[in-house]
Amino acid sequence: MKFIFKLNLNVLAEILQQVMVLFVAFFVTGIVILVSGYDLKEIFSAFLNGIFKDMYTFATVIRWAVPLIIGGIAVAIAFRAKLWNIGIEGQFYLGAVVTAYLGFTFSSISPVVHILFSLAAAAIVGGLWAGISGVLRAYLNADELITTFMLSFVAILITTYLVLGPLRYPGAQGTTVRTQFIEDAINLPRFVPQYSINYGIILAIVAALIVYYVINYTSFGYEVRMLGTSPGFARLGGINVNQKRIIVLFLSGAIAAFAGGIEVLAVRRAFVTQFMPGIGFDSIVVALFANSNPIGVIFSGLFFSALRTGAAAMERTTEVPRAMVAVFQSIIIFAMISRNIIKENSSFKQLKNKLFKKEIILEEGDVFKN
């Protein structure tokens, strides 16, 4: 490994801030639950049980973390260039349907080649789809926030049409409409059969490390970060801003589609319409919480997966609706974006200067972070 993970005081301070944010969020959520008349201890223990009780729940957390991590990376890489790709969900399903299609259409190829080929095709399709938004942003200055979001709906409709129509597998039992299963040989296996952790988590972590390296240690990554910090300065430095924006959105869509492909290969093995509702916004929250740092996204993804798993268990045992998770996530974001007003508060600054012998400037915003 050529790089060293920069664990310095800045990063520790960052992490501490996020922990405080979590405390605030838990506190406020706890109040809401209390006020609603629920027994807080019961709720909380149901929630924690859902995560830590045994290997099974733990495995579930890791299994759900995979799409969140990869989705989070997709959002993060775009956000480094100050581009908003909120069409993750559509790109995710596009990747999933492409992988499913290639998965069952071809057989008797070497499994490794088959997997690589399916995932690569998925990534390209997702990338091209996001690339549309990139082109619109680059040449017409059309806000990619709106175009990625709208195109996400279109992508979902396309995949729904495909699974209800041409790609529908008539032999499916039950009421689920799905494609044919991908060939057995290319399932991404689990580590052990009884727990749902699969090799997808390795791919997710590897992807995070690769993106981290690219963003922080390559010239391309430098240009992307420059684009995020100051497009004007980037232009002066000779960076083709338009081209970079298209490339970054392409990559973002490709990674999101890659996430969808992995989910199909590892777990679903076929495509069902909208099989992962909410993955879009969940990925955004994951990336925001990690300050768009790919390594941070790994932990953020694990955390939000734990949140989701715990909330599902909580809902099962105590009937507190899962919608609470969305409230919790929104409070996290509110708490996070409030940090700057706290930082600017002069009494906080004095306290900081007393604690640390030299003045450490916690920089506002995220793209300065490694």
């Binding site: 809401v32 609603s36 908003w84 909120i86 619109l136 017409l140 200055n141 059309a142 806000d143 926030l145 709106i146 175009t147 979001f149 709208m150 195109l151 709906f153 279109v154 409709l157 396309i158 729904t160 049409y161 129509g165 916004f281 955004i284 929250v285 925001l288 009937e319 507190v320 609706p321 899962r322 919608a323 609470m324 998770v325 969305a326 409230v327 919790f328 996530q329 929104s330 409070i331 974001i333 509110f334 974006i337 409030s338 700057n340 007003i341």
Partner: protein, 299 residues
């Protein structure tokens, strides 16, 4: 085909357009005041939900509408506090606000009614339609008759907005804010106060817009029932450059696309349903592309 492009589609456009146009008119002032507000989606959701809640408990449509407006104001104030006072990023704040709205409505849906997903109240409270006989006289204008009262309200609002923006001094300041906030501050106007007021206005109208979705035709609340319309409304505002009449027409156009989609589905065109359902979204993309090309400045 002639059945498709007929009187029916114009009438249904007006009907479908009520929530879109109301919300769009609501967002104009905020846009002109220099705030990029994409939390319209959340405001509409809050309005839709609380209209059903209050309607169910009181059976009174007017109380339902008032609470929808109040709910919209609540979310507006949360968003406004983040953006104006805490000076947080507008887009992240809006995403958080929309998340909050989705979460709190889903949560309260269970707390109040014990269900998840959707709820159909057993009391009937619909937004009344208005029959203005004067309109029946002319052949084209008669299409405007018998529409939801909120549609006529929205016509009225266009006029109010126009008067406010172009004839009233504080409206001048709102117009000036997006271009030159420092200039406005120098004159001594309290920028934050104006921005909060525009957000409250937005909350009222977007809340009403949401209520018109849940109580306009059918009385039902479904989680995620806004389905991206809030973002379409934002596009309409940008496309219409914040001019009341243009924004109204842009929103109406999206309503037309939506209407067209629904009608084609009923007509049974050889196209797959999904192709037609995607028309509103594709129109939005084209609209924002055109609008950005025309505006030629990045906001």
């Amino acid at each position: 085909m002639s059945e498709l492009i007929s009187i029916g589609i114009f009438v249904s456009t007006l009907r479908v357009g009520v929530p879109l146009c109301l919300a769009a008119l609501g967002g104009i002032l905020t846009y002109r005041a220099g705030i990029i507000d994409i939390s319209i989606e959340g405001k509409m959701l809050m309005g839709a939900f609380f209209a059903i809640v209050v309607g169910q408990y009181t059976g009174n449509i007017w109380l339902a509408l008032i609470s929808a407006a109040l709910a919209g104001i609540l979310l507006s104030l949360i968003f406004g506090f983040m953006v104006i006072s805490v000076k947080a990023n507008e887009i992240v704040s809006a995403i958080a606000s929309n998340l909050f709205a989705a979460g709190i409505t889903g949560y309260l849906l269970y707390i109040f009614f014990g269900v998840t997903g959707s709820f159909k109240p057993d009391k009937i409270f619909r937004i009344p339609s208005l029959n203005i006989e004067a309109l029946e006289v002319l052949p084209v204008i008669e299409l405007l008759n018998n529409q939801s009262i909120l549609l006529y309200v929205s016509f009225f609002v266009i006029i109010i907005l126009w008067i406010y923006l172009y004839k009233i001094p504080s409206g001048y300041y709102v117009r000036a804010l997006a271009e030159n906030p420092e200039g406005v501050r120098t004159v001594g106007v309290k920028v934050k106060k104006i921005q909060y007021i525009t957000l409250i206005w937005s909350g009222v109208l977007c809340g009403l817009a949401g209520a018109s979705l849940s109580t306009g035709i059918l009385s039902v609340f479904t989680e995620e029932m806004i389905a991206g319309r809030g973002y379409m409304v934002f596009t309409a505002i940008v496309f219409g450059r914040g001019e009341p009449l243009f924004v109204f027409l842009a929103a109406l156009f999206f309503a037309f696309a939506d209407s067209f989609a629904i009608r084609s589905q009923m007509m049974g065109l050889p196209l797959p349903i999904q192709a037609i359902q995607s028309t509103p979204y594709i129109s939005t993309v084209i609209a924002i592309a055109l609008a950005s090309k025309l505006n030629k400045k990045s906001y």
